[in-house]
Amino acid sequence: MTATVETGRTGGMSPSGTGAGPQERRRRTTELILIVLAVAIAMAAYAMVHIARDGALPASLPRYAGGLLLLALVAHVAIRRFAPYADPVILPAVVLLNGLGLVLIHRLDLGAADNAIARGNPIPSPDAPLQLTWTAVGVALFVLVLLVIRDHRLLQRLTFIIGTIGILFLLLPLLPGLGQEINGSRLWIQAAGLTFQPGEIAKLALIIFFAGYLVVHRDALALAGKRFAGLDLPRARDLGPILLAWVASLGVLVFQRDLGSSLLFFGVFVVLLYVATERASWLLYGFVLFFGGAYFAYTQFGHVQNRVELWLNPFPADPEQISESLYGLAAGGILGTGLTEGYPERVPFASTDFIVATLGEELGLTGLMAVLVLYAVIVERGLRTALLVRDGFGKLLATGLSVALALQLFVVVGGVTDLIPLTGLTTPFLSYGGSSLIANWILVALLLRVSHAARRPAPPVAPAGPEEMTQVVRL
């Protein structure tokens, strides 16, 4: 998917009206071809699952292939209509990831069904059809975001409203009667028979809030206090926001037992603070606060200690989740066991937190690396958008969305592969789960919205009179 190279065609760099026309820099046809390729790859994998297992193509193939292609095309058309200058590579990468996720979840469904039959248990209801439904909801919201938010700066005006929504969503699971505790974490709300993780939406809202807040206060925060040992010490009252974010993150950890989200919120905030103020010292304070908080959590919470112990010694006498994950990765080796040829269902939560273990086992190191590169492409494209976009809010928003994706991926893949202690986050687009899928489709919509603004040619400069020889330089 990384084959397209954009040759120096960066928004705002070349004067409009000369050389490449606006039609050409949209690159929507490239996007369309890549989308078709992405759907083809995912559906080839879907077919392989059944060819390997039953020796025949599944009857459900047209439904899944048609469904995924249709959804991808809807998203594509929405971009053509509402954000024609948006980055052409991000959507195909997302479609491929979403499609591969569907395949892996479907494959785990089959494994669970086989196991249930072997043990004489009732067959559990499959997850893949639900995931396809959630994809449809995600794409619908993707279109809606592009349709409604025609300019990302609209969000800047709503900074505090969105911030309030974010905090409310974050607190929702703690409400008695509404909140649900699942697997020891209180991250869920239940309403109308559906469970939902409001934290995923809160993540987006808080990123918008951080961006809106920091773009206003960046000058104040960047003002140096005293210098000490080569570091700018902030004024005491400017420490407020970072301390607040820190306390809120710890709150998430303590009350919701969600290590991953806590780390994610705080990490994104510190990075945005750094980008907004251009002061590296904030990173240092962030690190100190992070490790302080981590140490505090380690000393106070059994489940945190447990995670750290399993990280250092992933092979206790009785194999654990992480041991099975690592055995699976080892079984996969370089080329993988092949779809349906491994035992990914041995890893608890294979379709959610540990989907990367399934990927690594059956598609091997090759498949895992390809997927990691896909994510890297999305993240770097997002950060490039941040570089190109002209307004500060857009810069911070694109940075926050991209960094959130990168951090989340680092935390979850690092956890599954025993690089860092396991924290329990979903893998964006791959993992089973409606909340995560919907939130990440919205995230991409926001990113593409900013990208459209970044790559859109600047409005033509008023024609200069022939007597005027001053050259207009655009930056």
């Binding site: 690592l326 055995y327 690089l419």
Partner: protein, 484 residues
């Protein structure tokens, strides 16, 4: 804001780089170690998900896999289980594998490197051909004869082709049914395992390969070989002192003959007669005259003090080092600390039948791909020259005399010249003696060499002797190979 942004972009790339690096470590660098972790059930499930190749004797599958409908897809089954159990071993999903099931695990499971091309083909076609098969060198008639002969007794038989080292029979009693350990029923498996391990008769022990016994008078062949190799003795020269009772230097003890008998009226005897009547005093004296070093060297040329991979690893037969004169006298008649596996004694007698050359013993004749195409065929391998061809010929002639007109008469086969030697090793008054017989046939062109050991039998201790208990079994096995 672009300067910090560029740094953030670099940092994100770095994070992805670390993830990629770590994925390589987990899936490539550490993969082998993880796959061999005994707690890793995946390897086992994977093995059980493919049809494991059969173990063959001739055209008969003595171990094969059948499809089940439980989590472990294939069940291992055994034809004539107890007869072949010492060779096939077992294949258990909790207790691992033993015997050929263990030694040839990779071939049978289809993961052997020699099956690589096939694995690639499987990868491309998506089909799984299952494991390769292993054809054994065993002769089913000889194996059956050995098994039948050992019934009701505790003991072992090894027969091999002296010219190649191919093992034709390897039996051990009491035995067990490997199916009891191949069951997929975890509770039943545990019960069977506990029972077999608690059994004082040690049915899981392969006595032919993994246990050593005092070889007794069969060791006199090695002492005779050392004497002839020294060049100072002639088989038919009556120059060996054979007192009725041999005084052992340094001690008050004496070395008597079996039953206190006299070997010769004039206390001088030929080597041939000494071997024929198995004269203890003559071989005790001969051992002291030759010296411990010469005996040790001769024993080691026959394979003592080393192990063999057949491909299961044998126990090491022992000839002691640093022994004094009386210990040397005792060792020369296969007593004191001399110990040998039945396999070792078969190799020894086989070497004499094979003009003095010890052949490496082996059980696997051919390894076959799942489509039965041979991918590896056994090549006979010389281990050492134990004695010169002349000495071997002299020993053959002497051993034929033992069977024709000596203690080995029970092994005579009509119309075929047989060479052999008895052994009856008394170790302590508390337990019955070990009865041995080693032999080969036909003497002019030997195609089979046998060692038979009886550890315990249901007869009065006085009736136990190599000639009476072990020789008939050796005879039956030789007849089975020759086709009588």
């Amino acid at each position: 804001m672009n300067k910090p942004l560029r740094r953030v972009a670099l940092a994100c790339l770095l994070l992805f780089g670390i993830l990629l690096l770590n994925a390589n470590v987990q899936q490539f660098v550490l993969a082998e170690e993880r796959r061999s972790d005994p707690k890793n059930r995946r390897v086992l499930l994977d093995e059980y998900s493919r049809e494991r190749g059969p173990i063959l004797v001739g055209t008969q599958q003595i171990a094969f896999s059948t499809k089940t409908d439980d989590e472990l897809e294939y069940l291992r089954e055994y034809a004539a289980g107890p007869i072949y159990a010492p060779i096939t071993g077992y294949y258990s999903f909790i207790f691992g594998a033993e015997g050929i099931e263990r030694s040839e695990r990779e071939v049978l499971a289809g993961t052997d490197d020699r099956l690589f091309v096939r694995q690639i083909a499987d990868l491309l076609t998506g089909e799984d051909q299952g494991g390769g098969s292993v054809l054994l060198t065993l002769n089913p008639a000889a194996q059956q004869a050995a098994w039948d002969g050992l019934q009701g007794q505790k003991g072992a038989v090894v027969a091999l082709n002296p010219q190649t080292g191919a093992i034709l029979a390897m039996a051990s009693t009491p035995s067990y049914d490997p199916a009891a350990l191949a069951t997929h029923d975890g509770d039943l498996l545990q019960t069977n395992w506990d029972l077999l391990n608690a059994d004082p008769e040690k049915p899981l022990l392969n006595r032919a390969l993994r246990e050593t016994y005092p070889p007794g008078s069969t060791f006199k062949i090695i002492t005779a070989a050392a004497a002839l190799e020294s060049g100072n003795y002639d088989p038919d020269e009556p120059d060996i002192p054979a007192p009725d009772v041999l005084d052992l230097p340094l001690t008050d003890a004496v070395l008597p003959n079996q039953g206190g008998a006299s070997c010769s009226s004039d206390e001088q005897i030929t080597l041939r007669d000494a071997l024929r009547i198995s004269c203890n005093t003559a071989f005790g004296q001969l051992g002291m005259d030759l010296g411990a070093e010469a005996l040790l060297a001769q024993a080691e040329r026959f394979g003592f003090n080393s192990t063999f991979e057949v491909p299961m690893t044998s126990a090491e037969s022992v000839f002691p080092t640093g022994i004094n004169e009386p210990q040397t006298a005792q060792s020369a008649i296969g007593q004191f600390d001399v110990r040998a596996t039945p396999l070792q004694m078969a190799m020894m007698i086989g070497a004499i039948a094979n003009e003095g050359v010890v052949m490496a013993p082996y059980l696997v004749q051919e390894v076959r791909a799942p489509d039965l195409k041979p991918i590896d065929t056994a090549q006979p391998e010389e281990l050492s020259e134990a004695v010169s061809p002349d000495v071997a010929a002299a020993l053959v002639s002497m051993l034929v005399t033992v069977v024709d007109e000596g203690t080995g008469e029970n092994a005579q086969i009509d119309g075929i010249s047989v060479g052999g030697k008895t052994g009856t090793a008394q170790t302590s008054p508390d337990r019955p003696p070990y009865a041995w017989f080693v032999s080969f046939a036909p003497a002019d062109n030997p195609t089979v060499a046998v060692a038979v050991l009886i550890e315990e039998a249901n007869v009065a201790p006085d009736d136990i002797s190599g000639g009476r208990l072990a020789a008939p079994i050796a005879k039956a096995v030789m007849e089975a190979v020759i086709g009588r």
